[in-house]
Amino acid sequence: MNRPGTGLAYVALTLSILALISSLVIYSMRARASGVTGQRAPATISLAMVVATFAGEGVFAHRWYPAMMVVREGDTVDLAIANPDRFSHQFEMTAYHRATDILKPGASARLTFTADEVGAFEYRCILPHDPARGHCTPDHDQMRGYLIVTAQ
């Protein structure tokens, strides 16, 4: 009747059942919260990405336009990158190890990659400012934008 270990086994059994129930509840809540009902077909996001010049008050600002992109994990990002500026620029999506060649004034390039990593990723100009060679502009460091990749 009073076998050693019986009490401990019941405690373990009770704890296990509680753990299992709480796990199932958390798991089902998470599935509902994320709205995941099945695999989504990946999309292709084709966009123009240009060097835009904003002017006013004697100040010129050069920026990538658009400065913000949002895609979902697995989507293909297809960028038509163009430089209508008077100076050369070079586009790089650092985290995805993708970059164009140097884009001289009027030049364009195509950059395609799959957004297979979730996170917030910077894109920028990687051609340092060099007035002698017509490379980029004094606000080189501000030529930045972000690609946000959300989970499936």
Binding site: A9, A12, I17, L24, I26, Y27, R63, V118, R144
Partner: protein, 146 residues
């Protein structure tokens, strides 16, 4: 088989199942990032004419909950403008044309937060512009981080 042994076996099986479910439930950690972005106050008008329509570029900033948002606000407009993010304690001082100020905050709350100019249009002082009411952009904070 004794009751003790049986319940021990059942406990082990249930415990292992619970562990597997827990492993499935825990999302892969995604580290927060810094969204460090230039935000320009600018305008568009007819060709060769002064700007009539003022806006923030970008008009939409997206971050994930936990990300640090740093906005380098620069006013390229001829009128003075400012910016504040509704729902966040983030605003710049009044910026005259050509001035800039950086504001930084952590996106601690998920949701949609408008950013707008907080100084009303006043032609006598050159504060903001007649289209003050439409100088609105949106900060989207994705929650959860993933």
């Amino acid at each position: 088989m004794t009751t003790s042994a049986l319940s021990t076996v059942v406990a082990v099986v249930l415990g292992a199942t619970a562990l597997i479910f827990n492993a499935l439930s825990v999302p892969q950690p995604v580290p927060p990032a810094a969204v460090d972005l230039s935000l320009i106050i600018t305008g568009l008008g007819a060709v060769g004419a002064p700007a009539e329509h003022h806006f923030y570029n970008p008009q939409m900033v997206v971050a994930r909950k936990g990300d640090t948002v740093r906005l380098r606000v620069m006013n390229l407009s001829f009128a003075s403008h400012a910016i504040q993010v509704d729902g966040y304690d983030a605003r710049t001082r009044i910026l005259f044309g050509g001035e800039q100020e950086t504001m930084s905050f952590v996106a601690t709350r998920g949701g949609v937060f408008p950013y707008r100019c907080y100084i009303p249009h006043d032609p006598t002082t050159g504060a903001c512009s007649p289209d003050h009411e439409t100088m609105i952009g949106y900060l989207i904070v994705l929650d959860p981080l993933r």
